[in-house]
């Protein structure tokens, strides 16, 4: 077989400079911002969640407002496993991911027949429905107070979950790196290429002999599983899980974070989530609603005037600057 050219879609699993720089910065933050590690861990968990959503929206073209369902399912599964006595964090994370993936695989064949506004509505309704159900099921979810008393054994038996967030930061970063490598492989594989084809033109893909619904269901299941993993990490890092993980607000946050960073490139999640979380953290210290006034116009500007989110806009600016060079 001849070697693939460097910019072939199937060789995109290789890391580029920007992503390596990001990884180094993330490690660097561990040393330079020791007092912000809790925020940092929250950011890492969100990056993972946004990555899982990018697989759905950016690569498969599925616009869903119900992604929080899988995040929440993973988070609560990890909590329940801990309360039932299974305290190993890695095992719990894997089981939570499996549970969410299974749920996604069961719901996928029904939801993924729809597109556009109907899909938006059904996933929205699903998210609200699950939230209300969890709110009612106070004995198992803790209702408004959430699940407390959730504790996990030290990671790999060695690293204790202290109060400083040191362990949770590096633990989340490790999971994130692993998932990123995995996702890069998935989207650069023939399966990933088919997904992108489905995103562009489902009818054409069908005419060529690809079966759309099975591919979308597999993609949805992987996305759901990874969202569940992110949820488990959330529970492990916070030693607590509340109903907010299932809320519509979380679903919308994920969408906004992805769009800010840039849909359809995995690296968009690496930019969008930190920018959004940091802005939200500092703006909401002024007033609970102030961050909406910051994010709203930013989102509008990015969608109307930027192409491909912040990352895409940056690329456009760099490309224009390069072309202007003599």
């Amino acid at each position: 077989m001849t070697a693939l050219p460097a910019n072939s879609i199937l060789s995109r699993h290789r890391w580029n400079a920007g992503e390596l720089v990001w990884l180094v910065c993330a490690l660097g933050c561990f040393f330079t911002f020791p007092e912000y590690l809790a925020l940092g861990t929250a950011v890492l968990v969100m990056v993972l969640l946004v990555l899982s959503y990018d697989l759905l929206l950016g690569f498969s073209g599925v616009l869903s407002l119900g992604h929080a369902v899988y995040f929440g399912l993973g988070a609560f599964t990890a909590g329940w496993l801990s309360l039932a006595g299974w305290k190993d964090p890695v095992l719990d994370a894997l089981l939570a991911a499996a549970a969410s993936g299974l749920a996604a695989a069961l719901l996928g064949p029904f939801l993924l027949r729809l597109t556009g506004l109907p899909l938006l509505m059904v996933t929205l309704a699903l998210c609200v429905l699950v939230f209300e159900a969890a709110h009612l099921a106070t004995p198992i979810t803790g209702g408004d107070d959430g699940l407390s008393g959730v504790q996990f054994a030290p990671v790999l038996g060695l690293f204790d979950w202290g109060l400083g967030g040191r362990t949770s930061y590096l633990y989340s970063l490790a999971w994130l790196t692993l998932v990123y490598v995995l996702l890069k492989r998935v989207v650069a594989s023939p399966f990933g290429v088919i997904l992108q084809g489905i995103r562009e033109n489902p009818k054409r893909m069908r005419l060529m002999g690809n079966r759309v619904l099975p591919h979308l269901t597999i993609s949805y299941s992987i996305g759901g599983a990874l969202a569940g993993l992110a949820g488990a990490l959330f529970t492990e890092a916070n030693a607590f899980v509340g109903l907010g993980v299932l809320s519509l607000e979380t679903s919308i946050d994920v969408l906004v974070m992805l769009v800010l960073g840039g849909v359809g490139t995995l690296s968009g999640a690496l930019i969008g989530a930190p920018v959004y979380m940091v802005l939200k953290h500092f703006a909401s210290q002024w007033s609970p609603f102030y961050w909406m006034l910051v994010i709203g116009p930013l989102l509008i500007a990015v969608v109307l005037f930027g192409r491909g989110g912040l990352l895409g806009s940056a690329r456009t600016i760099v490309a224009r600057w390069r072309r202007a060079q003599p």
């Binding site: 938006l120 509505m121 929205l124 699903l126 209300e132 159900a133 849909v263 006034l293």
Partner: protein, 290 residues
């Protein structure tokens, strides 16, 4: 028997007010094919404006309501020219995102201007008290709101189906390019229609304000119900929207009355089941399975 009467009467009035708001969205979505998730913000704007005029400027109800509705409609024209015009050619995702962004801005501004608390609108003295219908009493205000909604909806139906203006509008919906080639001024038509949609939303919001008190999160809180009506009505006309809205109102009211614990679910379950089976709306032909 009186439980059924309660559910039907209250569900009907709830549904009709919802219908008024939803109709504005059905019209703008049907004509301009823009998913406008910020529609609830226009309704809330109308409600808050009316409250400000009545409570802080002591303007009588009968004057404040039309003033508020017209102001929001004018603001709608401004919004259309500045923002929505850019969305017509964009993908559904972009439309969803920009209108969510508008929603966020609206919620933030409402919270900063009016504070985070619920503000109910007291009905004017003439509309307080109860009306005795023989088998059941109903608040005068609810009957009034339902009556106004019915009148407006009937007027809309008559304009759409029986006048040449309505015919032009329907032509522009069915085939924009052809309508423009025949001499219809489509940009002006779009602006006027968007203003109409916003005005209807504002009127709906004002009528709903005593029953659903105003708060900064109002646009997002009731957005889901409005979208339920719009999605189930599909791209169909006024009659379908009324039927669906009344159904939603009755199901919502009935669900919460009969099952206080689980009542909120019923409408979402109904929506999911109905949308999976009829993605194009309840009265449209069944779509081909993929």
């Amino acid at each position: 028997m009186s439980a059924a009467a309660f559910i039907i009467l209250y569900g009907l009035s709830y549904g009709l007010v919802l219908c008024l708001i939803a109709l504005g969205l059905v019209i703008t979505m049907g004509l301009m094919r823009v998913i406008n998730l910020a529609h609830g913000a226009f309704a809330a704007l109308g409600g808050y404006l009316a409250i400000t005029l009545i409570q802080r400027a002591a303007i009588p109800y009968a004057v404040a309501v039309p003033v508020a509705v017209l102001s929001v409609a004018a603001f709608g024209v401004l919004a259309e020219r500045l923002v929505y015009r850019r969305l017509y050619a964009r993908s559904q995702l972009d439309q969803v995102l920009v209108t969510i962004g508008l929603n966020l801005v609206a919620v933030a501004l409402l919270s900063m201007l009016f504070g985070p608390n619920l503000i109910p609108l007291e009905p004017p003295p003439a509309l307080r008290g109860n009306l005795d219908l023989g088998f059941r009493e109903i608040e005068v205000y609810r009957a009034f709101a339902a009556g106004v909604c019915l009148a407006v909806i009937a007027a809309l139906w008559w304009v759409f189906e029986r006048t040449s203006t309505g015919a032009r509008l329907r032509a522009a919906v069915d085939n924009q390019g052809m309508a423009q080639a025949m001499g219809l001024n489509v940009p002006v038509l779009f602006s006027a229609t968007f203003a109409l949609g916003c005005g209807l939303a504002a009127l709906g919001g004002i009528l709903a304000a005593p029953m659903l008190p105003m708060e900064p999160m109002w646009p997002l809180k009731y957005l889901v119900l409005v979208l339920v009506v719009v999605a189930l009505a599909g791209h169909a006309r006024v009659a379908a929207s009324v039927a669906v809205a009344v159904l939603v109102g009755i199901v919502e009211t009935g669900g919460r009355y009969l099952f206080p614990q689980y009542g909120g679910f019923v409408i979402y379950l109904l929506l999911i089941v109905l949308m999976v089976m009829w993605p194009n709306g309840l009265l449209a032909p069944r779509v081909e399975r993929a």
